[in-house]
């Protein structure tokens, strides 16, 4: 009763102001999430009525070799992409943090691929990577090397996609590292200079520990981004060659929108979200330092 009275006497403007967000949440987050959960226990192809099948989607999931291969592919992508991204972003950030000429220009240039559509970039790299006609192989042949099947050999394909993804996203992480670098107090470096520290010692004992929080943020963001790998294989390889670039997200998409297994793809989606959660918690536990 007290709550109702409190509500009645309160100013309603706040509720009206938050209504758009609440509606947005209910429509685009709450309902889809709830509906996906319901779908886990059903077989449904959008057109015909939903059919209750209990836990059979999970039974199928645990015997689905292709899904586990797609998770393995995604992990391969992460193993190449995250370290590559951190090393390159940190190096670029260190250079762009110095007082160099055209600093603003270079900062903007490195950020440019981040805001360009992923589809456009993927098509561009597809042309660069083309085995017979690509610019990269043309250069290799001109220099006397043999051609590399960048995206046509299962051994190279995922690494090639990881390199492209790094090129596209590195600008964002450069900005994050720059923010981190600018937050490190200058007196630490001055004290190190007085003590006669060498540049690599300053980097190892001051810069890296001071960037711990930024590093954690970069790792978590690029892990989540990496797990969401979709546009690049969808546009560039369709998951091939021989399923080597079939990411988990692409597999889930195919199950839902190519084959109409809405219930099964919802099950895969929840299972995959659970894996991401575990990985992020592990990263947080092992990387975060007080």
């Amino acid at each position: 009763m007290e709550i109702i009275t409190k509500f009645r006497d309160s100013d309603k403007t706040g509720y009206v102001m938050s209504l758009p967000y609440i509606l947005y949440f209910l429509l685009f987050v709450g309902f889809p999430l709830f509906f996906s959960f319901i779908l886990i226990f059903h077989k449904w192809n959008i057109v015909t009525p939903m059919e209750w099948i209990g836990l059979r989607n999970f039974v199928r999931l645990f015997s689905d070799i292709q899904f586990f291969q797609s998770i393995k592919n995604t992990l391969i992508f992460l193993v190449v992409h995250i370290p590559l991204q951190i090393v390159i972003a940190l190096m670029l950030a260190l250079v762009l943090n110095e007082k160099i000429k055209f600093r603003g220009f270079f900062r903007a240039i490195y950020f440019l691929p981040v805001i360009v559509s992923g589809v456009v970039i993927t098509i561009l790299w597809q042309q660069l990577y083309a085995y017979e006609t690509g610019l990269l192989n043309l250069l290799l042949v001109k220099m006397g090397f043999s051609k590399i099947p960048w995206i046509n050999d299962p051994k190279y394909a995922m690494t090639s996609i990881a390199i492209m993804a790094t090129w596209k996203n590195v600008g964002l992480y450069v900005v994050l590292f720059l923010v981190g670098l600018q937050g490190i107090p200058g007196y630490l470096y001055e004290a190190a200079d007085i003590d006669g520290a060498k540049p690599y010692q300053k980097f190892y004992f001051i810069t890296l520990p001071s960037l711990n929080n930024t590093m954690l943020l970069v790792i978590i963001l690029s892990t989540i981004g990496g797990f969401s790998l979709f546009i690049e294989p969808f546009v560039m390889t369709g998951g091939g060659p021989m399923n080597s670039t079939l990411s988990a997200m692409l597999y889930i998409y195919n199950q839902a929108f190519f084959f109409g297994h809405m219930g099964y793809s919802a099950t895969l989606g929840f299972f995959f979200a659970f894996i991401i959660l575990i990985v992020i918690l592990l990263q947080k536990k092992f990387i975060e330092q007080k």
Binding site: Y131, T237, G240, F259
Partner: protein, 436 residues
């Protein structure tokens, strides 16, 4: 607050008022029925649909057609599925792929066409009976009007064939490979091949296999499809031969292992293109003045004898059960497949209407005389096969595509084993999808 409530009420009222009946009452109290018609979204078909709808509307005061190209997406089937789920289907659509019909019928999304007393007479006047039978639904009824077919054949660059010393178009696999060997070469001597015999997308997406494996399989098997009486039958010698052929093609570099942007057939870097009649209008528009091309049927295995079949990319017309006016929609559908409309389909879209004696009918003689290239497609049209109308089809093609990639493109598996594995996977897919 009261002010907000009043405004909200009027907004909601206005939205519902705008979403009213499709039946408009005009000033003179005459009822006008409005039907929505979805056509394919390519420029030629939009042009044809606009013309036909304009013609219908100018002669029918009581039933007006509102034209809308199918909303953009990866495929028409995705849009139609979403529309059925959202109950926003049009009254009539002329871009129905037979492979997706099973789902639409099972969902009760389509109007049964043989309920109209003149359906069988009208359609058999136009469509060969055996072909019409292939579009009969498993429940014994008809839900689609066979409209057009696009027989896949091989378009080739005459000049490139001539310069390579290929005088005869290849009819068998041996001749095909022989021609490929002569044509594929490194022209500028930079160590990279820059002229190939042909090209197919490497992406293991299910529908890509309609244009290589499936087309060649239909030809090699004498017109078989993947299923017979709901049983898988593609685990056979014809499939193995097709896999072996493409394995040879890729192993020898006759088709490049790469993804192209743009049309390299027009750019004269590819000597052949597996394509349908729709491509004629495109080639005519973009080719250079000295570009010579012609068409030949899909090659068959050396030991094959008999007529050469191919995949006919059929597109049909269906009426959705959301329509309030099935009779009027049926009348409009008949208009779309009338002899005059079929002539315009040929003239505007360069696509082949499914019509008996098309190449001998006097109504079309003038068109075929002035468009000799399309005659070959029209002659091939009776020897086409579509896809089986089963709901698992995409997934089964996906399984075939996976094996095709491993075996034909990358040569990592024998053709026999790849076909056996694809058939095994198809059986697993069917077991899962049909289990209750």
């Amino acid at each position: 607050m009261r002010y907000i409530s009043v405004v909200s009420f009027f907004i909601v009222f206005w939205i519902f008022a705008c979403n009213g009946s499709k039946e408009k009452i005009y000033a003179d109290n005459e009822k006008v029925i409005k039907l929505t018609y979805w056509c394919a979204s390519n420029p030629q078909e939009i042009k044809l649909a606009k013309e036909l709808v304009g013609k219908w509307n100018s002669t029918h005061d009581d039933v007006k057609i509102e034209l809308q190209p199918i909303p953009a997406s990866q495929s028409s089937e995705e849009v139609l599925l979403a529309a059925i789920a959202g109950k926003t289907t049009p009254d009539i659509c002329s871009n129905m792929w037979p492979g997706a019909m099973d789902d639409f019928v099972l969902s009760g999304g389509l109007v049964r066409l043989d309920q109209f007393p003149d359906f069988v007479d009208y359609i058999t006047e136009r469509v060969p009976k055996d072909l019409l039978e292939s579009f009969r639904s498993p429940d014994g009824h008809f839900y689609q009007i066979p409209w057009k077919t696009n027989p896949l054949m091989i378009m080739y660059n005459v000049k490139m064939f001539r310069e390579a010393g290929v005088d005869q178009t290849p009819k068998t696999y041996s001749e095909f490979l022989e021609a490929a060997k002569k044509i594929t070469k490194d022209i500028d001597g930079d160590g990279m091949i820059d002229q190939w015999f042909g090209y197919r997308s490497l992406k293991p997406i299910w529908w890509q296999r309609l244009f290589d494996y499936y087309t060649f399989y239909i030809a090699a098997s004498g017109g078989k499809t993947l299923f017979k009486d709901s049983e898988i039958i593609f685990d056979n010698e014809a499939s193995v031969k097709v896999f072996k052929l493409f394995q040879d093609i890729y192993a020898n570099g006759y088709f490049p292992i790469t993804e192209f942007q743009g049309d390299n057939f027009i750019a004269e870097r590819l000597a052949t293109n597996i394509t349908g009649p729709w491509n004629i209008a495109y080639v005519e528009k973009f080719k250079s003045s000295d570009f010579e091309y012609d068409i030949f049927p899909i090659p068959v295995p050396d030991d094959y004898s008999g007529p050469v079949y191919t995949y006919g990319d059929h597109k049909n017309i269906a009426i959705f059960s959301t329509t309030k006016y099935p009779k009027e929609a049926w009348a409009f559908a008949k208009f779309l497949v009338s002899p005059e409309s079929d002539l315009r389909l040929l003239e505007i879209c360069s696509q082949i209407p499914i019509r008996k004696n098309l190449s001998t009918d006097s109504l079309y003689t003038e068109y075929f005389t002035s468009h000799p290239k399309i005659v070959k497609f029209a002659q091939q049209a009776p020897l086409t096969r579509g896809v089986d109308g089963v709901s698992d089809l995409k997934e089964i093609f996906d399984g075939i595509s996976q094996e095709y990639e491993v075996c034909a493109i990358y040569g990592k598996r024998s053709a026999e084993e790849a076909v056996r594995k694809a058939a095994k996977r198809a059986k697993v897919i069917i077991d899962w999808n049909r289990s209750r």
